[in-house]
Each structure stands twice: as structure tokens, then as C-alpha cells.
Subunit: 490 residues, 2 copies
């Protein structure tokens, strides 16, 4: 989920300064409009340590009219607060209609901390999140606008900020043991935060993820997002579709643009590695069968990225009774008469088997989205349906691996040309392939959103640099073996 929000986004000083006046004017103007319209706006900023939560609060207080807003941070509950139910203090801080209330961390703080320090179990954590959903729903049903932002950092970025802050004698005081402690718990916290964000990313109160490394970038991105949400609400475009979008404003890099397509592997090294991994895969899948652990391998990627080639080099390593390759084409009549996930439920492997999908349920948020075979509402809700589906699979013990094979447009064109020249490959290229090329940007956006929404701790996306086929195959073999090794008793 956080892959895109980990990409560093920056805005230089001049660009930043240039954008401020308009944004401030817009925010001030919107403040008057919500006052006139009698809408309570609840703006929540959460995220990682050092990602700039405090800075956002200061900035908004500077940019907007403080007479019509309030800022609330919650620490340990006071005695007064402890003597009431947990949510009492949030209700008391609720802005009246027409006002803006800014909250840092707010009602997300206690459950996140309790789960991080294992004071509550997973099920209790989920119950707390459901509780939060009901709280926010009560407010939005009453007409309030709830805007939630998550300021994110990669582990490296967080470490770097901590180091820089400590180096400067003027800011050194900001870093305490808590920050160091949290840095150590980074990976654990991320799994928890991912769960929290997915569970509370409701149509009424969706999350917005922002990389918080650069202060200029985050201020503009969040200011714009707040302005956007208020405007949309005033236009009564209730925006009822859940999203966990990558930053809206100042265009950031896409997840695919961050892939190093230069990665190469020599033929000789490839052949050695291939032989080694195939024997390993053979051993591991046999062991998987014995231990009744099945696997589902999902291959998605650009046309001509080499999906088929990888699959043809995995299957020889397996026992033929033990795997199935399922190429996903148009659904049958019977399949069309059911929910789009039904046909994937149908083909679930029994324990101990391997199913390989050449394209998959992700068609819903890729081709069906871009080609408009699915309505906006349909592909939007597919993200959470797919997450639920995959959570069931992995919860049952299935090893689920998802690969996106990435190549450049130039490489794709080259391969199409080759196919046309190679007679026995010519059948593979159709008019549709050429049309798809034109939609490259739309697909790139779709991949970006897909990774943001469906790369989960239990089923992450593996983006594979595939301009060089040798490199791509070995990387996939390695990922596959790792996953089996983690899952099996060896």
C-alpha cells in the first residue's frame, strides 16, 4: 500500500513560493463558504514520526483564518477524560457546523499504539477500527466532512530525517528515545498501519497518502487535497467512492517510473542460475505438497513483457499432477452469470497444489478499468473486494505471489516488431496490441493505483524489471523460492 507514498517527492523553493498565494486565497475563501453552508469539517492528520504532522498543523494555522478553526492534539487521557468513555474527548472537540477542526492522530492514536506495543490482539484491534468507522460514519451521516491524511516516509527517509535533526543543535531536542524506538519498530508498525488504513478507508471518510519527506511538497499536497475535498463537498459531489490515492497535486513519480530497467543478467550466469533455481523449485513444491501448502502465482504485466516465457520456465520444474496454468481470457456464459470473482473462487487449488494465473482477477482494475468494461464504481470497489479475497486465501495458508512484469515502451515496440518478423510469433500480435500501446499512460496510472490499493503485507506486489528477460526470470524464481522457504517447515 505504501509503495507509492514512499517515493520521494520534492518541490523547489521557487515553485513552492509560487504556489502558495493562490492556495491560501482558495483555502480562506473555502473557509467562508463552509461557514455559510454550515458544514463541519473534520481534518485529521496522522502518519509516521518526523513525517511533518506538526508542520502541517502550523502551516494550516498560518494559512487559514484561526477564528474559524480549532486544533486538537490528544496525549494520554487526563483524569477528566479517563472518567468517561474513550471517545468522549473526540466528541467534545467536534467542530460545530460551519467550522474546521484539525486533529493530529486523534482517535487513531490509541489503537495504533496499543497494537504496536501488543497491548491488544489483532481481533481487538479490528474491533477498535470498526468502532472508529462507526464514529466517523455518525459524523458524516450528520453532514460533516471528514478528511484524513496519512504522512508517510520510507524507513530510509525516516532514519535520514532523524539523523539530520539530531545533527543540528537547534533541533536536537525534537528527537527523543520514542523516535528511535519507533524507527526500530518501523516494519512492525507498517503492517499495523496498513491494516488500519485499509479497514478505515471508507467511502464516507477515505484516506489520502502523502510522502512527507519534503516539507514544501507535503504542505502544498495536503493544502490542495483539503481544498479539493471541501470544494467537491460544496459542489455536493459527495465523492462516494473510497480511495487511497497517491498524491493528487504536483505530479509525483509513478511506481513504475521508479523501476531500474537497466538491470541485466548475462546469458551464462542466467543459465547457471536457472538450473539452480529450477531444481530448488522442484524440491520446494514437492515439499509444499507434502505439507499441504498450496500456492497461487499471479502474472500480470505489459503485453510482450514475457509472462508466458516465465511460466514456461517454471512449470517444467514441477510435477505435472501438481500444478495448473490458467490463462484468463473472456469469461464463459456461466461465469458471466456470477460475480466476477466467482470464476477465481471456482479454480482455487486444493491444499498442496500450485495454480499459475496468466493474467488474473486484476483484469478488473486494469483492462476493465482502462477500456471502460467496468464502471467507475465497479473497479473502485474491486480493490477492497480483491483485498478481502486475497486475505481469505492467505489466511487459509495459500502462498500468494503477484508479479507485475515491467518493460519500457521502447522495449515493447521492439518486441512487437520482432514478433511481426518472426513468423511463428506473428499470431501473438493483434490490432489490439497496437491500440493498447496508445493507452500506456492510462495503464501506468491503473498500475500505480493497483499497487497502492492492493499491495498488502500478506500479498505484496512484486514489480519486476523485465527489459532483460534473463534478469526478470531469475528475479521471479528467487522471489518464488523465498516465499516457499518462509512458508514451509524446512
Amino acid at each position: 500500500m505504501f509503495e507509492v507514498a514512499e517515493l520521494k517527492c520534492t518541490l523547489d523553493k521557487i515553485e513552492y513560493a509560487g504556489q502558495i498565494p493562490d492556495l491560501r486565497m482558495q483555502l480562506l475563501d473555502l473557509q467562508q463558504q463552509i461557514e455559510a453552508a454550515g458544514i463541519a469539517v473534520i481534518f485529521l492528520v496522522a502518519g509516521l514520526d518526523c513525517a511533518g504532522k506538526g508542520d502541517i498543523i502550523h502551516t494550516l494555522n498560518e494559512w487559514m483564518d484561526p477564528r474559524y478553526m480549532g486544533t486538537y492534539a490528544f496525549g494520554r487521557p487526563s483524569e477528566d477524560e479517563r472518567e468517561r468513555p474513550n471517545h468522549w474527548r473526540y466528541w467534545m472537540a467536534l467542530p460545530p457546523r460551519g467550522r474546521l477542526g484539525i486533529f493530529t492522530v486523534g482517535w487513531y492514536g490509541p489503537p495504533l499504539a496499543d497494537r504496536l506495543y501488543s497491548r491488544i490482539g489483532e481481533a481487538e484491534f479490528l474491533a477498535e477500527l470498526a468502532h472508529i468507522n462507526r464514529l466517523e460514519k455518525a459524523w458524516t451521516s450528520d453532514g460533516a466532512l471528514v478528511v484524513k491524511c496519512w504522512l508517510h516516509l520510507s524507513k530510509k527517509q525516516q532514519r535520514k530525517i532523524i539523523e539530520k535533526t539530531e545533527e543540528n543543535p537547534e533541533t536536537r531536542w525534537k528527537i527523543t528515545e520514542v523516535e528511535h524506538d519507533h524507527l526500530k519498530l518501523y516494519d512492525k508498525f507498517l503492517v499495523i498501519a496498513e491494516k488500519a488504513l485499509r479497514e478505515t478507508n471508507t467511502p464516507e471518510a477515505p484516506w489520502f497518502l502523502v510522502n512527507g519527506y519534503d516539507s514544501h511538497y507535503r504542505r502544498i499536497a495536503i493544502g490542495r487535497h483539503l481544498a479539493h475535498c471541501i470544494s467537491a463537498r460544496l459542489e455536493s459531489d459527495q465523492n462516494s467512492i473510497a480511495r487511497l490515492e497517491p498524491p493528487l497535486s504536483s505530479p509525483g513519480p509513478s511506481i513504475l517510473s521508479a523501476v531500474d530497467l537497466e538491470a541485466r543478467l548475462e546469458k551464462k550466469a542466467y543459465q547457471e542460475e536457472k538450473a539452480r533455481f529450477q531444481s530448488k523449485i522442484s524440491r520446494l513444491t514437492r515439499l509444499g505438497r507434502q505439507q499441504k501448502r498450496s500456492a497461487m502465482l499471479v502474472f500480470e504485466g505489459w503485453d510482450a513483457a514475457g509472462k508466458g516465457g516465465v511460466i514456461r520456465r517454471i512449470t517444467p520444474a514441477m510435477d505435472a499432477r501438481n500444478y495448473r496454468v490458467i490463462p484468463i481470457a473472456a469469461p464463459t456464459d456461466e461465469e458471466k452469470a456470477h460475480h466476477y470473482l466467482w470464476r477465481f473462487w471456482r479454480h482455487l487449488p486444493r491444499d498442496g497444489n500450485v495454480t499459475i494465473y496468466d493474467r488474473s482477477w486484476y483484469g478488473r482494475v486494469l483492462v476493465e478499468r482502462v477500456e471502460k468494461f467496468a464502471s467507475d464504481e465497479e473497479w473502485h470497489r474491486a480493490y477492497s473486494e480483491i483485498n478481502d479475497f486475497e486475505e481469505e486465501l492467505t489466511g487459509h495458508g495459500i502462498i500468494l505471489l503477484k508479479f507485475w512484469l515491467h518493460i519500457s515502451q521502447e522495449e515493447q515496440y521492439k518486441r512487437f516488431q520482432e514478433r511481426q518478423q518472426t513468423r511463428y510469433k506473428r499470431y501473438k500480435i493483434t490490432d489490439e496490441d497496437l491500440r493498447n500501446r496508445e493507452k500506456w499512460d492510462a495503464y501506468e496510472q491503473a498500475v500505480n493505483d493497483m499497487v497502492t490499493h492492493t499491495s498488502t503485507s500478506y500479498a505484496p506486489w512484486h514489480i519486476v524489471a523485465a527489459n532483460d528477460k534473463y534478469h526478470a526470470r531469475i528475479e521471479i524464481f528467487r522471489t518464488l523460492c523465498h516465499a516457499y522457504e518462509r512458508a514451509l517447515k524446512l
Copy 2:
């Protein structure tokens, strides 16, 4: 929640036979219409043992066209099923578009049983219910119609059916140890079932509660409900409001009509009891203060039912520093600028105190509903908002007691007359009181729905027969003392 569904409803043989032909024709006709419209209908029957789940399945199979429907009951998972995720078997049984699938207990079976036998904890149970909500939501978002019925029995009714079935040599085989075991666990199961029904009573897939004691009544009630839901769906009236309605069809008794208004208490007995209870209340509230347990007493009821009189006889028993009486009138400007529950959050007692509400947040589903101050959508969603609110209160340890003081229309009229004749009471009677009398039926329906939706295991409604003031007061004193005794360390 089950109060209304426990009331016995019957339909005599002649009336039953008279209603069948039309209903069957309607159901057959609707079956063809869903086929034509391509709507998958998922009909789930759950409920207590011996409440007639199997009978409903047989009846529907007899009444409708079996070529367009399938019936699914799920026992222990087969080996084939165990080797897939839990929900796999439900997905596989999903009716295609245009067909009807009938399920007994279905996906509710395993979590209910696991919780009953404490194989899972409360938080895990809640997570399972959330899981079910997502499952049903995936289906309804895809266009399926999900209709869920709960067949209910009071404990007495369940015992009687078991005895009758055992007496008859031809049906004796139907009763096994499981049924006896479940009868013993009746109270425990009810708390669990209530939670499950409340958590899964979603706008997409609401529950319908039916008393299952009389086979004629339940068949007609459920047949009609199914027909009603399909028709509504075909008219594309998506009926997006959650409900846990009392039986729709053949008008059953209301919860108030079942109250014995003849209950009386002699003046002398009253005075003795009153003195005894007041001293007890004094002791218990002081102990409550020491143990930091607060209480909230909610008084609702018909005008002139004697709410004020009870309150004036409770407060003298308490330490004046320790309680507050809050009469709920029209909200202030500041209160109007917030969510309707805000003003109740605001007045929450600190630990150890008692707050007495003369009318309360229930105004939303009573006067605001009947007088149309709240929109249908607003008062409908208030049920679950109120349940959440009260769950927070009791979860924090607050002793919450809710009383509805019930009197007959005649008694109310008599009291109004008296008030007009008694000078110092005359101010109490306004034109509005006289208007309200005309709305008696609408209020009775509102009370019925209020009890069905908001009488919970953690905050049940106490319906008090109040035609006789002495009787009513002592009953309230007794309930109050019981609640304190259960909650405190004595």
C-alpha cells in the same frame, strides 16, 4: 431486540388456507420476473432450534418452481471444503443471476456455534461478523438481492415445542441431545445472536425477525416478506435503510399491548416498600460513588405516565452532590450546531455520579419520528447510532437503565382531565398534549420499533405498567436496585 419477536403470533387454519393461493401465485410470478431481470436472490433462513427453519425450506420448495431455485444446508465442512478457505463453499453455492438460492443458517452457522461454545473470543467473533458483512456486500454490490430471516422463539416456547415433539412417537426422533443442550444455553445464545444480528443488519442485507411458534403464521409471514423484498427490488426501490422490523404481515401484537396494565399495589404496601427501597437506593448510590461506577437513568413514556413523579421519589434518596436531573427540552443553538448526540455526550456523568434523564436521546426515534422533525433516513440510522453510544457507555462501566412508562389511553385521558381540574397541575397540559393523543398509534409503532432495535443485552428496555403509579414506582425502584447490585462489589 427479541422482545417483539417473542410475542406469540398465530393464524388459524381457515385464514391460513385462504391466504395461500394468492401468495403462491405471487411468488411464482416473481420467480419469473427475477429470471427475466437477471437478479440473483440469496434467501437465508436462520434462527433458533425448533423455530421452523426446515419447515420454511420445505414450504418454499413446495410453493415455488424448483427448476429455478436451489437449496443449500451446510454441515461440518467436507474434506474438499476444509482444503479451501472457509467461504469457498458459500461462493460455490451462489445462485447465478436470475435464480433463487435458499440457505439455512449458511455463513452464520460457524461463527455462532464457535462463539456459543467459546471456541472464539468476542473480538474474533466481531471480526467474523465483519467478514460476513464484506461477503454479503460483495454480492449485493454485484446486483444480488440478499434477504435474511431470523425465526425466533421465547425460551418457554422453545421448551414447549421440544416437549410436544418428544411426546409424539412419530416426531420424537427429531429431538436429540443437541436440542436439549441448546435449550440449556438459551440465554447465552440470545446474547450472541443479538450481537450477530445487530452487527450484520446492514442497509444492503437487513434482517427480518419472525416469531416461529405457529407454523401457519411463520410461513405466511416469511413468504410475504420474501415477496415484498423481491417486488421492492424489481421496482428498483433498493430500500437502502436498515431495519430489524417486527413481522410485516398478519398484524401481530405490539410490545405495549402485551403489558398487563391491571397490575396494582395498595397504598400501604407501597409506602412500606418505598421506604425500604429508598434506603436501599441511598446505600447503593453511595457505594456506587465509592466504587466509581456511574449510572444513567432514562425515563421515557406517554405524557402523564408519571415520569416526573418517579424521579421526584428517587432523588431524595441520593446525595445532592452526586446526581443531576436533566430534563430534555428543545436543544440550544450550540447544541443544534452539533450532531444530535453531542448534547448527551456533553452531559455524561463523571465516574461515580448519577444522571437522570427526563426524556432523552430517544426523542430522535419517538417524537422526532412521529412529528417528522427528523427525516426517515435520520431516525432509521439513529437506532444503530444509539446502540453504539450506549455500548460505549456500558463498556466504560456506566450502569444504564431505560424505562418506558406505559399507560392506557383511557388512563391518560383521565389524568389530563384531572390536571385541568387541579389548578396547580394545569400548567402541565398544553394543546400539544391533546394533539399527541391523536397520534397514539403512530407512537405505539415507534415504541415497538424502538424496543426491537435498541433493547440490547447491555442496555435492555424496561417496559413498566404505569396505570397504577404505586406499582410503577416500586417496580422501577426494584429494577434500579437490582442493576446496582449486579454491577457493584457488595
